[in-house]
């Protein structure tokens, strides 16, 4: 069994690392610091950590002011509240001003589990992707989350890093680096491209094994940089395989599948199927059972690939 770690674990740890390296980082949280792990940073750097209470809109506004005054402002909360409750603040103050605010919420997607629909962000990628100046990163695992959180400090402007609650299998190791705007071909193949982000990268790799057993060779691409997106790599892979399946722990409207459909429809129309949540809210349950319930399993991806190849 592969190592399992939650991407959120990287958050507090990387903030500590950045502050120790002398970066002018501050962290804000909205009464979820223990869940998002920013509390760990707060314990080591109390002068650089500010809890705003249950007030996400104010958190984003304060972060904007800190950023306008030279700080690298990281914010924490759950993805539903960070992006939905404070959307107008992110749009009108942070993105319009191109301010150095990092929106790195945890508890994105179905794998939140028992808290249910109110807490399972399934539209946050779509929301953030629609905003000018915003960069959208959906790390595949713990190591990529750490790399992306580090990279965010070097990007001058708004960055969204999507983190999860559940411990999930790792895909990479310590040596992994993150390049904004670059997709990573994690496994090559010639018959079908599976482009995935977040936890679905590991699921896609297992789908690849299922397909291999049928003699189908799948290429798996980690598109953790959803915006800017690596159109070149996607077009190259689509040109090679002629079939594209996308996979995300998010609604299929406006997320990764939407982004890739936009690229391919303009540059290289390619038969596509999107695996994701189909215009529904989430529900309570254990994370692994939810992935089955909503069709986000290796079998679902393999099935989509076979359908395309038929």
């Amino acid at each position: 069994m592969a190592e399992k770690r939650a991407t959120r674990e990287a958050y507090g740890a990387v903030l500590i690392e950045l502050a120790k390296a002398g970066r002018d980082v501050v962290a804000l949280d909205a009464d979820l610091a223990s869940s998002t792990t920013t509390a760990k940073f707060g314990a080591e750097f109390p002068d650089r950590f500010f809890n705003v209470g249950v007030a996400e809109q104010n958190m984003i506004g304060v972060a904007a002011g800190l950023a306008a005054s030279g700080k690298i402002a990281y914010t924490g909360s759950f993805a539903v509240f960070a992006t939905g409750r404070a959307f107008d603040q992110i749009r009108n103050t942070v993105c319009y001003g191109n301010l150095n605010v990092k929106i790195c919420p945890t508890h994105a997607g179905l794998t939140v589990g028992p808290d249910g629909a109110s807490h399972q962000a399934l539209e946050d990628i779509a929301l953030m992707r629609s905003l000018p100046n915003m960069r959208v990163i959906v790390p595949a695992d713990y190591y990529e989350a750490a790399a992306a959180l580090r990279a965010a400090a070097d990007i001058d402007g708004p960055v969204f890093v999507r983190l999860g609650r559940a411990a999930v299998p790792v895909v990479y190791d310590e040596s992994h680096t993150f390049d904004l705007g670059k997709a990573d071909v994690v496994a090559e193949g010639g018959d079908v491209t599976i482009a995935a982000c977040g936890i679905m990268v590991e699921v896609a790799l297992r789908a690849r094994d299922l397909l291999a057993a049928d003699g189908v060779s799948a290429e798996v691409i980690n598109v953790s940089s959803v915006k800017p997106i690596d159109a070149e790599a996607l077009v190259a892979s689509a040109a090679k395989t002629g079939h594209v399946v996308t996979a995300e722990e998010h609604t299929i409207q406006g997320g990764l599948g939407g982004a890739i459909a936009e690229v391919l429809s303009e540059q290289l129309p390619t038969p596509m199927l999107r695996v994701g949540v189909r215009d529904m809210f989430g529900t309570s349950g254990p994370a692994d059972e939810l992935l089955i319930e909503y069709g986000l399993t290796p079998a679902n991806i393999a099935e989509a690939a076979r359908k395309l190849l038929d």
Binding site: A55, N58, I60, G61, G65, A68, S69, T93
Partner: protein, 275 residues
């Protein structure tokens, strides 16, 4: 202490700013004269007496910051910035036009001297809190000033930020409430009363000063008192008249977001004539 000539100079400056507000909205054919005129004396006091700033060096690190949270009053800010020398006064004639540095609502990326984007009400005070916090972390000498509208104070985020500022004892932050009693759909009392704002902010842990927002002696004294207040942010509750200085605009809901016609512009400028 201010001398009477200081005050007379500020009054003259405010009059010039009011003229700009009328002209720029009149030329643009749109914009928000009412809330710009109610704020004119306070904004004049900030830019021409209270704040340390360098118009030739807009990002001078030690400058005091002003956040116009009620961003629709952009004309008063643009006029004060132009009169200060951030950009030529002629630029005011381009308000709201394609390609202008002067957008309908403040844009920090386009306009020298604008500290933060605003226009979506309720957000500026939070940003001002963040600036004040950064200033304190850096032990910087600068102060942060913000202005909110009374209608704007109906936004929940204003109260989130108000809690925050008091909790973190941001005594380098001073906010002005432009208490003109009017919003778009009518009088606050009829639409949604904010009742006794002084008591509200006092109970939120702020130091509160109540003034006549058109009396420079009171305005300057209030900013002075705010500077001397320790461990608490200060809210200056400024009683103002929406449309102040133009007889037919005063206390008129209709001039919240309507530019004067050519005829009205002429009359307003006559009323605001400088000697």
């Amino acid at each position: 202490m201010q001398t009477t000539t200081d005050i007379a100079q500020l009054e003259a400056q405010a009059r010039r700013i009011r003229r700009h507000i009328i002209e720029m909205t009149g030329i643009a054919g749109s914009g928000h004269p009412g809330g710009s005129l109610s704020a004119a004396d306070i904004v004049t006091a900030l830019y021409f007496s209270v704040m340390k700033h360098r118009p030739q060096e807009p990002s001078w690190p030690d400058r005091d910051r002003f956040v116009l949270s009620k961003g629709h009053a952009a004309p008063v800010l643009y006029a004060a910035l132009a009169e200060s020398g951030y950009y030529p006064v002629e630029a005011l004639g381009t308000l709201r036009q394609l390609g202008s540095i002067l957008q309908g609502h403040p844009d920090m990326c386009k306009t020298p001297g604008v500290e933060i984007c605003s226009g979506s009400l309720g957000q500026g005070l939070a940003a001002a809190c963040g600036m004040a916090l950064a200033g304190r972390m850096d032990r910087a000498p600068w102060r942060v000033y913000a202005m909110i509208g009374d209608g704007e104070a109906q936004e929940g985020e204003i109260w989130e930020a108000s809690m925050f500022a008091a909790h973190y004892k941001l005594d380098n932050l001073t906010c002005v409430l432009d208490f003109n009693g009017l919003q778009i759909d009518g009088r606050l009392e009829d639409v949604m009363s904010i009742d006794c704002p002084s008591e509200k902010w006092r109970s939120f842990g702020w130091h509160v000063v109540k003034i006549d927002g058109h009396d420079f002696v009171q305005i300057l004294a209030a900013f002075d008192e705010a500077k001397r207040t320790k461990n608490k942010p200060t809210m200056i509750v400024a009683r103002t008249v929406k449309g102040k200085g133009v007889s037919f605009m005063e206390n008129q809901v209709g001039f919240h977001g309507k530019a004067p016609s050519e005829e009205q512009m002429k009359q307003a400028l006559e009323e605001l004539a400088t000697e």
